[in-house]
């Protein structure tokens, strides 16, 4: 078993699962029926993408592992999603801001991943990119609409940007696994996509009449399994049935 490839695949899957789970919490509670449907669409896309990556991970791991083993039977420290994805939904604007930052990263990351020397990862990336392109359009439009909407919405969005910005750095900080995967041509060169991320974020925030906060201290740890307190509660709900009825088929 190629342990590095397994971990790298899980890292991508975890981002999608945790953010998809967060978005799914909106279902039935959206501000407008159309947006309720749209957020659920993105949740479905992300959980669907997570499944593709988990299925690949199961294949790499072998020994009869399944996609659900990864989602339902690992503990907090095994998850490698970035801290941004596990942040609580907050109000609609906070959800949109979290989504926007992730979508910009995810778009350029996935675009680069289509060039991976691992043909399976490249194929999943190719398939996901169409969906992510739509996600980025959706969250960008809402950043602009809410940022440049009313005084109240502007203030709420600026607050969301100020609060969430410190969770965006981690995605671009290459650790030993990232470097190893770049070396063998499988992974994405994070320093190469960072300028595109910065450009896109600046462009959309300009249109939204919003600005980035002063100071550039970034939170990190998610990719190495050091999470916020939020993830434990996500897993408590997500994994409840699998933990309460071990081995049951659903």
């Amino acid at each position: 078993m190629n342990k590095s490839l397994l971990n790298y695949t899980l890292r991508i899957a975890d981002n999608n699962l945790i953010l998809g789970h967060r978005l799914s919490e909106w279902c039935g509670h959206g501000p407008i029926l159309e947006q309720d449907i749209a957020l659920t669409n993105i949740a479905l896309d992300l959980v669907g993408q997570a499944r593709n990556y988990f299925q690949l991970a199961a294949e790499i791991k072998g020994g009869g592992a399944t996609e659900d083993d990864f989602a339902y039977l690992r503990d907090v420290y095994d998850f490698q999603n970035v801290l941004l994805t596990e942040q609580p939904n907050g109000h609609f604007g906070e959800t949109i801001t979290r989504q926007f930052f992730f979508d910009v990263f995810n778009y350029y990351f996935t675009q680069a991943l289509t060039k991976s020397t691992n043909s399976q990862l490249a194929a999943i990336a190719e398939k996901s990119l169409k969906e992510i392109t739509y996600h980025l359009r959706f969250s960008s439009e809402w950043m602009i609409r809410l940022g440049d909407g009313t005084e109240e919405s502007h203030a709420k969005m600026q607050q969301a940007v100020d609060d969430l910005w410190m969770f965006t750095g981690e995605a671009f900080q290459a650790d030993a696994l990232d470097l190893e995967m770049v070396e063998n041509g499988v992974g994405v060169k994070l320093e190469e996509i960072k300028p595109y991320f910065d450009q896109k974020v600046t462009d959309i925030l300009d249109q939204a009449t919003l600005s980035l906060p002063e100071g550039n201290w970034m939170q990190k740890g998610g990719k190495q399994g050091k999470h916020s307190e939020h993830l434990g509660f996500i897993l408590a709900e997500l994994q409840f049935l699998q933990r309460a009825y071990p081995g049951a088929k659903w």
Binding site: G28, P31, D68, L146, L238, W250
Partner: protein, 320 residues
């Protein structure tokens, strides 16, 4: 307009209905017909929207990724049904925002079944199997109801509902073929959802106040009791396949009538839930109101931004 002209319009309208010609938004229709339809369609739309809550309750706890996606997609379908039903009501001159206000103030009704709680994962199976099953019984005849936009919306709704029902039955099947504990979950869910599902067909024919006129207008095609009977007859063999017991000691096959006799429905409970005394009435409305109130600033911002953009475009056109 003179009375004699009204009568002839009404006669012509009824003639169309009798000849199974569908009524379209621009056609003349009696005010009573319009009002009845707006009431029925908006109640139906509200039911879809409130119905998202009891099932949405289990999205974050679904037991596998496949089930999670199935449930998410199902609840999303309900939002979609709400959208096209509100759309159908708008073709009659109703306004979606005020219909929704009526739901939130408690003035408008929605299906009482959604005032029952979902306690275990098996409830998601039981709702799909029984509640969606009962909904389909009620709704398939509406696909040929006299009002065109409603009938067409229902064709789409019914296709998706029958998929949901299969999905629900499959969840029940997995539980019943699973461990003894899982089968117990399934039985418990059937015990709790059976009677409320029978109540979904509404009061007995003798008590149903809107029925006769709605039948004449072909908004309703079968009586409450007829549809309820069909539902019982359909569900009995399905419960047998699952290997769980319908909680009704009086339920038995009647050789003479060639249908199942069933026990007495607790109408006192039914009317109390309708009046707002069900286990979750207050909770559901509170949740709906909270989502709506918390979304106010979003809706206002979207409107303000659209207006800004319109003005900017107009200014640009002026200077060009």
């Amino acid at each position: 307009m003179s009375d004699s002209k009204n009568i002839s319009l009404e006669d012509r309208f009824q003639e169309k209905i009798d000849n199974n010609i569908q009524i379209e938004p621009k056609d003349w229709m009696p005010e009573g017909y319009r009002k009845t339809l707006i009431r029925q369609i908006s109640q139906h739309a509200h039911s879809e929207i409130v119905g998202m809550l009891p099932e949405g309750n289990w999205i974050s706890r679904a037991p596998s990724l496949r089930r999670k996606m199935g449930l998410l997609a199902k609840v999303q379908d309900e939002a979609g049904h709400g959208l096209y039903l509100y759309g159908a009501a708008e073709t009659l001159g109703a306004d979606r925002a005020s219909l929704i206000d009526d739901l939130h103030s408690g003035k408008a009704k929605y299906s009482s079944i959604f005032n029952y709680p979902t306690l275990t994962w098996a409830d998601i199976g039981a709702i799909g199997w029984l509640v969606d099953g009962a909904a389909i019984m009620n709704q398939v005849p509406l696909c040929s109801c006299s009002y065109g936009p409603y009938a067409r919306a229902m064709v789409r709704v019914c296709k998706e509902e029958s998929f949901h029902q299969r999905q629900g039955f499959e969840i029940m099947m997995a539980l019943c073929n699973g461990s003894p504990e899982q089968k117990e979950l399934a039985q418990d869910a059937l015990n709790r959802w059976w009677w409320p599902s029978l109540m979904m067909f509404g009061p007995n024919d003798s008590e149903s106040k809107h029925s006769a006129q709605s039948m004449k207008w072909k908004i309703k095609r079968f009586s409450n009791d007829e549809l309820r009977q069909r539902f019982v007859d359909m569900s009995v063999p399905q419960a047998k396949i699952l290997g769980i017991t319908i909680p009704d000691a009086d339920l038995k096959w009647n050789e003479e009538t060639k249908q199942h006799d069933y026990g007495k429905i607790d109408w006192e409970e039914f009317w109390n839930v309708v009046k707002g005394n069900g286990p979750c009435n207050k909770q559901r409305l509170k949740t709906r109101n909270k989502a709506h109130d918390q979304g106010k600033w979003v809706r206002e911002a979207a409107t303000a931004y659209a207006e800004k953009r319109r003005q900017r475009n107009a200014n640009r056109a002026k200077t060009a």
